[in-house]
């Protein structure tokens, strides 16, 4: 059968091909990332010096912070790691011709632009009497999200997030079905590449946690519009209930963002050490363990809400346990490299940086798990630094690692490695400059989400903002190497990483044929 591609319109708007949908997801993620990054850059500019220089209305600052969080989580990281790399490489790696439900796959993607458009519209319609947009933080706690934001802005956010949530639920169903039913002959679940494992675990987390978010959002919506009182104490409701529902979703959500990155890093570390992954089963089941335990630790985000002390003690202990499977993963990556034949390629640099930064984010996570200490740094910049180390540097470094690893496979072109190296170094130095000093600010007690701060926080805020400028240069290099690769069109061979890259996608051409595996590969 010939490799017939549909015409442009049919191919990209009515796409049922997992690779094309993956490409759409990645393009969408880049656009959202630039938008979310723009919001954060303006925030850092404002915080560079004490005083209010750019945001004449403090409401707008909080709105930028809220939308930055929502956009980066729902429209950058999730589409990139699950929709993008998951769609592209899970079928290729398990030897499947496509996803199990190609049309639902298309629906999953096209719900996302709708969701993003709703979120962007929300920024331009009235939120409160003080300004446009929703400014209640990405956590959307009532009463600020109900009586605190009477305008339509937050309704747009709710609709957007529901759309994004359904997109992810459909995606999760699709991945679970694909992975359980469409593996090539001989590929048992215990021979499956770790990327597929990570997407499988992530899909279960999505499937089980997102309905809870959807329920909480709908309760917010009815509280706002039809006069229910789920979260209104005057009507017998309780604002705290929302926080429990939200974090029951929110904590698995952070693993949803980081687990696929774990999968990507495993492949890169193994490829460039020219060694199979060390302790494969331990790696796979560590992810399962992280997923399972991730569901029973949510209230460690809520240590200061006035919980019973015994409850805090439970959440403290349960949270510490997560450090064990995470530690297994870190040590297994190092053991994979031990005795290997290591090449420091661009993806390997991102992967090593990922491990280093994830360790920092991990140890500060252990710090925050200690409820007693959390009292001191809860809702301060320490928390901001912590979750940016695991997400902005963990998940995003995982994305860049995967992107530079598979770019040639996906596009058929090789990138200029000097430009890509400049991207890496500016980005690596930049984000560390941004976020490491924020640990110090948090220890000194600087609260999150404030537009102006006492002069005593000026020094580290200045350093942090300088870091934002360095990061911006890194992002510029990213766009430059991306465009350059498409202009120069250096053809990528089938397996341009050579020996070591031995998952199934490297047996195909670059880019793979529009329909692959017309004869299913046999795994011995």
């Amino acid at each position: 059968m010939s490799d017939h591609k549909p015409k442009f319109f049919t191919r990209w708007l009515f796409s049922t091909n997992h690779k094309d949908i993956g490409t759409l997801y990645l393009g969408f993620a880049i656009i959202s990332g630039l938008l979310g990054g723009y919001l954060s850059f303006l925030m850092r500019l404002e915080l560079m010096e004490p005083g209010i220089q750019y945001f004449s209305n403090p409401h707008d600052f909080a709105m930028f912070a809220s939308m930055h969080g929502l956009i980066m989580i729902f429209f950058l990281v999730m589409p990139a790691v699950i929709g993008g790399f998951g769609n592209w490489f899970v079928p290729l790696m398990i030897g499947a011709p496509d996803m199990a439900f190609p049309r639902m796959n298309n629906l999953s993607f096209w719900l996302l632009p709708v969701a993003l458009i709703c979120s962007v519209i929300s920024m331009f319609v009235p939120g409160t009497t003080s300004g446009n947009g929703f400014a209640g933080g990405w956590v959307m706690y009532p009463p600020l999200a109900t009586s605190g934001h009477p305008g339509p802005a937050f309704d747009f956010v709710i609709i957007g997030l529901l759309a994004a949530g359904f997109s992810s639920i459909f995606g999760a169903i699709n991945f679970i079905t694909t992975i359980f039913n469409m593996r090539a002959p001989g590929m048992t679940i215990h021979k499956m590449p770790l990327m597929a494992w990570s997407v499988l675990v992530t899909s279960w987390l999505l499937l089980l946690s997102l309905p809870v978010l959807a329920a909480a959002l709908i309760m917010l919506f009815t509280d706002r519009t039809v006069g229910t009182g789920f979260f209104d104490p005057a009507m017998g409701g309780d604002p705290l209930m929302f926080q429990h529902l939200f974090w029951f979703f929110g904590h698995p959500e952070v693993y949803i963002m980081i687990l696929p990155a774990f999968g990507i890093i495993s492949h890169i570390v193994s490829t460039f050490s020219r060694k199979p992954i060390f302790g494969y089963l331990g790696m796979a089941y560590a992810m399962v363990a992280i997923g399972v335990v991730g569901f029973v630790v949510w209230a460690h985000h809520m240590y200061t809400v006035g919980m019973d002390v015994d409850l805090k003690a439970y959440f403290l202990a349960a949270t510490l346990i997560i450090a064990i499977p995470t530690g297994i993963k870190i040590f297994s990556w190092l053991a994979t490299m031990w005795g290997g034949s290591i090449r420091m390629t661009i993806p390997m640099m991102w992967a090593q940086a990922f491990i280093f930064l994830f360790v920092i984010g991990g140890v500060t996570g252990v710090y925050l798990a200690n409820a007693g200490l959390d009292t001191a740094v809860h809702d301060t910049y320490y928390v901001v630094a912590h979750f940016h180390y695991v997400l902005s540097m963990g998940a995003v470094f995982g994305i860049f690692a995967g992107f530079t690893y598979w770019f040639g496979k996906m596009s058929g072109y090789l990138y200029n490695k000097w430009l890509a190296a400049a991207h890496f170094w500016f980005f690596f130095i930049g984000v560390n400059l941004v976020f490491f000093p924020q640990h110090f600010l948090g220890m000194q007690g600087m609260p999150r989400r404030i537009v102006d701060y006492p002069d005593e926080f000026a020094y580290w805020n200045y350093v942090s903002s300088i870091g934002a400028i360095v990061t911006l240069v890194g992002v510029a290099f990213f766009l430059i190497w991306l465009v350059e690769a498409f202009i120069v069109k250096r053809k990528a061979p089938d397996n341009y990483w050579g020996e070591g890259a031995n998952t199934l996608e490297w047996t195909l051409s670059s880019p793979p044929p529009f329909h692959q595996y017309e004869v299913l590969p046999k795994i011995k």
Binding site: L144, M337, R448
Partner: protein, 309 residues
């Protein structure tokens, strides 16, 4: 061998540096510019937090991060492709895998014991000598003394100029504007801008103070870093926490900021606490929440304000 000793040495050095710098405490109250550790502790709870931070968590974090990093760098150098063209085929080592599971378990268990002790010490409130009630409003704090009904509840606002007059001004310019106002309006008088209020919460030194915290509308959080307290103000609920300011801290003023996003002026609802001697506090209570002439010096921050709305 040489490399592992180097790793150990650098880990210990950096740990020492980190603990030294976090342990270095100025006598200043409130945040200090350029500082990297916690604020100076003035209550037993904050002292426990500081000790746990300085002698447990920060050293453990630094050592783990350095060990992993050094190990990573050593591996990257030692097993570079030009040196080891033929990679080993090892993919399992049961003993190693058991060790790297058990060692973190032991570290975490060792950490959990003092952590639980700290948590229970912090959270189990001893018998209180004084109760104060804190209510969050949009966007100020209301303080009342349920034990002393003669002291009217009062509102504590930030000392500031309106938001729309601040745009583009430096802090120095804003402070100059505040200080140029008529004497009837609150001034900073050297107190830090964005932390100073027009009516501090007044509490006695060396006394167990129980704080009841609630809110009238949005969520807020009552936080005083030097006391080691932070508790959310939630409408429909009354949360409680406690502090006991160490003897010798009388005459000092401590600061905090609202720590849960609460709307447009979230950045502008500071918490200011004036700690006075027991005698001075008794005088303040006896005068219905004002200092008598005997004690009225140095109280620039405290302005008697109207009854709560």
């Amino acid at each position: 061998m040489r490399i592992s000793r180097l790793a150990l040495f650098s880990a210990l050095t950096l740990t020492g540096l980190a603990s030294a710098s976090v342990a270095f405490a100025s006598n200043k109250n409130g945040p200090t510019d350029g500082e990297i550790g916690l604020q100076r502790a003035v209550t037993p709870v904050m002292e426990s937090i500081t000790n746990f931070n300085n002698y447990w968590l920060v050293p453990i974090m630094v050592i783990i991060t350095l060990l992993v990093t050094v190990l990573m760098v050593v591996i990257l150098i030692r097993f570079r492709a030009s040196k080891t063209p033929n990679p080993s085929k090892t993919t399992h080592n049961t003993m190693l895998e058991i060790v790297w599971t058990l060692v973190p378990v032991i570290i975490l268990m060792a950490m959990a014991v003092p952590s639980m002790k700290l948590l229970y010490y912090q959270d189990v409130i001893p018998e209180a000598d004084l109760v104060v009630k804190v209510t969050g409003n949009t966007w100020n704090w209301e303080y009342s003394y349920p034990d002393h009904e003669n002291v009217d509840p009062y509102i504590s606002n930030i000392v500031d100029i309106p938001n729309d007059e601040k745009f583009g001004l430096s802090h120095a310019q804003i402070i100059a504007k505040i200080e140029a106002r008529p004497a009837s309006e609150p001034r900073l008088n050297g107190r830090p801008y964005l932390l100073a209020s027009d009516a501090a919460l007044v509490v006695p030194v060396d006394t167990v103070v129980k704080v009841l915290v609630t809110s009238n509308n949005n969520l807020h959080a009552f936080a005083v870093p030097q006391f080691g307290i932070k508790i959310d103000a939630i409408p429909g609920r009354i949360n409680e926490t406690w502090f006991k300011v160490n003897a010798g801290e009388e005459g000092q003023t401590f600061y905090g900021q609202c720590s849960e996003i609460c709307g447009v002026n979230h950045s502008f609802m500071p918490i200011e606490i004036m700690v006075v001697s027991k005698a001075k506090f008794a005088d303040w209570v006896a005068n219905d929440g004002a200092f008598s002439a005997k004690y009225s010096q140095n109280n620039s921050g405290v302005v008697k304000t109207a009854t709560a709305k």
